[in-house]
């Protein structure tokens, strides 16, 4: 039972992590929380549903198309909206309000186009379980766990070892200095949005496979946001740790305490943690710039 809960928790935490790293990446570059991020996951899942169920493309291709769709939507948001707001020199808070507006738009569009109906993939999902050491583990959970782990390792490699990652870290450190030293800031930011969008797409499709696809499923973005705050805004490893923590906590609270108090515990954890450690587990101390 314990092991089973733990694995389920980690697998949900993995889905959160895919989203939370997106929040962190964007926060580290632009200092704002991209509220529309959860909606990218939702839209990615819908693109995949459209291709898999209506067009009839094989599931894997549909999933890839879904991921691409999410990435493109994220990219489009940056190109059209965020870049424009940045260029007016408005405070970062306005980016966040803009993102909130985008999130409302996407959610409503999905609601109008696809109605509020719960949809699931027609693809036959592996629903059987395997027994390891007395615990029954869903094959789907394991697949999502392994896939998430691979993607996250790849992401860490991308950020820590490649030229692209170096650019991103330079911009996060000081965008102006990076620009002076020849980093193409706008282009790097756009690629980060592509990357974050595709991660969100993967998260959305995995979530849609596990549960259903519905217009308000972008609300898992909220949980992922909480996770990235727990880990410390702007820190990618922090976001991963925070997500796993949150996923495991949620599963254990639903399993052992009460499922209706689940959200209470995750938000209470958040508030208490921030009171003890005001910038999250791995966050950098936020200071006013004089």
């Amino acid at each position: 039972m314990f092991l089973q809960q733990l694995i389920t928790g980690i697998s949900i935490g993995g889905i959160y992590a895919l989203l939370a790293t997106g929040y962190s990446l964007i926060y580290s570059l632009l200092d704002f929380s991209n509220w529309a991020h959860g909606e990218f996951a939702m839209l990615g899942a819908y693109v995949a549903i459209v291709f898999a169920n209506m067009v009839g493309v094989p599931f894997l291709i549909a999933a890839v198309l879904g991921v691409c769709g999410a990435a493109l939507i994220s990219f489009f948001c940056e190109k059209v909206v965020y870049r424009h707001i940045r260029s007016t020199g408005a405070p970062n808070m306005f980016l966040m309000i803009g993102a909130m507006g985008m999130s409302t738009i996407f959610q409503q569009v999905a609601n109008l186009v696809f109605t509020g109906q719960y949809r699931s993939f027609k693809f036959k999902l592996p629903v059987n379980t395997i027994e390891i050491a007395g615990a029954y583990l869903g094959v789907l959970d394991l697949i999502s766990l392994v896939l998430t782990a691979v993607i996250l390792v790849f992401l860490m490699y991308l950020i820590n070892k490649t030229k692209f990652g170096l650019n991103v870290r330079a911009i996060a450190c000081n965008a102006y200095a990076a620009r002076v030293l020849g980093v193409r800031v706008d282009r790097s930011i756009a690629s980060v949005f592509l990357l974050a969008g595709s991660l969100a797409g993967v998260a959305g499709i995995l979530y849609g496979m596990k549960y259903n696809v519905f217009p308000t499923m972008g609300n898992i973005g909220l949980k992922a946001f909480v996770a990235s705050v727990v880990g410390g805004l702007g820190s990618v490893p922090g976001a991963i740790v925070g997500s796993l923590l949150l996923g495991v906590l949620e599963t254990f609270v639903s399993g052992y305490v009460s499922s209706s108090l689940r959200d209470f515990f995750s938000f209470a954890l958040l508030i208490v943690l921030l009171l003890v450690k005001p910038s999250g587990l791995f966050g950098v101390d936020v200071q006013d710039k004089a």
Binding site: S33, Q107, V229
Partner: protein, 312 residues
């Protein structure tokens, strides 16, 4: 006491031929105005974001409702207690969380709002849980709501144009500089947070009296987002702008009933477009003034009249 106001209300409404539908819209408008005035003080004048104001509305609504229904308290006193209790909770929460910077503060507010909702759902004995809390007498008559809204606006106006309000504005413009000239930023932020929560609680108590039946989902995160959205549309830093925003957001959906499916979509577009092209909101930092409006009209018509003359 309730009868007293309701009788006055019936008298005035039958005298002015106002039907019950319009009365309902006006009450809803007044409730929104009160809640949004609270947001305007917090967001527009202090630049703090709260995603928890729906939580404070819930606290005000449930406190007032429980006092009236279970303990037979006079509704005026219950409303004051509801608002004060919301303010008290905000004071405590603010004491803990206002030292956090930027988005960290925001997320604790969000967490608080969600916690309130989940707890109200959970404690079924006290609040009726997700089945709702029925049987609240209808005390939010139109006249009473209008009196409340005018009082709320008057108080907020005096507050913003007092020493406190100026200190809040200075914190908005530059917190570090404000502290350097001797303003205790933390205490003033807490004051502003408490003020907005009192207003939210007040609006919530009125809402309970208007709906006569409340459920925790009335006060979910979406309500907080709607409040922030309206404040942004109205103008960050203008009380009259916020009232205008509240009017637009409440009255336009009533006028365009057929478009009600697209209501939130239009809000979303309005927010994004306003943030992109008019970042200070419809009114920006200006307050509505009769003088300026007349001057503006004069310029509009006078300008064209002059141009006409020159052509002739």
């Amino acid at each position: 006491m309730i009868e007293f106001f309701n009788n006055i209300n019936t008298g005035i409404c039958s005298f002015l031929h106002i039907n019950s539908y319009i009365q309902g819209v006006v009450v809803l408008l007044c409730i929104n105005i009160i809640a949004i005035l609270g947001m305007a003080v917090l967001t527009g004048f202090t630049r703090l974001f709260s995603f928890g104001n729906a939580g404070f509305m819930a606290i005000g609504a449930y406190t007032a409702a429980i006092l009236i229904v279970r303990h037979n308290v006079n509704f005026l006193i219950a409303m004051v207690i509801g608002a004060a209790f919301a303010g008290f909770i905000a004071f405590l929460l603010g004491s803990l969380t206002l030292k956090l910077k930027g988005d960290y503060f925001l997320i604790t507010c969000l967490g608080f709002g969600e916690c309130v909702r989940v707890l109200f759902n959970y404690f079924k004995k006290l609040t009726g849980g997700s089945a709702g809390f029925p049987g609240i007498p209808n005390y939010s008559s139109m006249v009473f709501a209008v009196i409340c809204a005018i009082l709320a606006f008057f108080v907020a106006w005096r507050f913003i144009h007092s020493k406190f309000g100026r200190n809040l504005t200075s914190i908005r413009e530059n917190e570090l500089a404000a502290e350097a000239v001797g303003i205790n930023a933390f205490r003033y932020k807490r004051l502003s947070f408490t003020f907005s929560a009192v207003y939210a609680g007040w609006a919530g108590a009125l809402y309970a009296g208007y709906m006569m039946y409340i459920v925790p989902t009335n006060f979910a995160l979406n309500k907080s987002i709607e409040l922030i959205t309206t404040t942004v549309i109205g103008g960050l830093g203008s009380l009259t702008g916020s009232v205008l925003g509240a009017m637009l957001v409440t009255l336009l959906p009533e006028v365009f009933r057929s478009l009600s499916n697209y209501r939130m979509l239009i809000y979303g577009f309005a927010v994004v477009l306003i943030i992109m092209f008019r970042p200070n909101g419809l009114y920006g930092y200006k307050e509505f003034s009769l003088k300026r409006t007349i001057a503006w009209f004069k310029k509009l018509f006078g300008g064209s009249a002059k141009a006409g003359k020159e052509e002739a």
